[in-house]
Subunit: 88 residues, 2 copies
């Protein structure tokens, strides 16, 4: 299954929601655990970039960060404000 | 299946590769098709942020962009240079 297939399944299951959503995922496979993680700082900067395009408050953003021996995964889920769809 | 599960499966299947990888996915569910997409510009800015943390050339980055009636999906796959793992 490709990653794009995953999003298609995810989309179908959330189709009842009228809200627009933006989802950002970052996965970092690491060959060494000796390096400090830069994902927390990267997360901050990614959100700054996103905020240039959409006007969302902190309460519209949920963050999930997981880490194991070989991989770090950062998931940002952003519910876009209704005003964003005012042209529809 | 959660998105994090997807990454775990993906990781297992690529475990034979010693290279470090960074994968960034952006999915935008749109309630209206009247708005111009900002994902191409967002993609450019995301890569500028990533380049602050890792030194990669354009040839290490592959981009996949898909669009249908309700969703746009942007996938960035970045193979990290070996020098990045010199501390291991």
């Amino acid at each position: 299954m490709s990653l794009l297939d995953y999003f298609k399944i995810s989309k179908a299951s959330s189709a009842v929601l009228a809200k627009e959503r933006l989802q950002i995922l970052v996965a970092h496979e690491r060959s060494s655990r000796n390096q400090p993680s830069y994902l927390p700082q990267l997360q901050k900067e990614l959100l700054e970039v996103v905020r240039k395009y959409i006007n969302v408050g902190q309460d519209a953003i949920s963050v999930n960060f997981e880490q194991d021996d070989e991989q770090e995964t950062l998931e940002l889920n952003i519910v876009l404000p209704d005003i964003h769809a005012k042209n529809s």
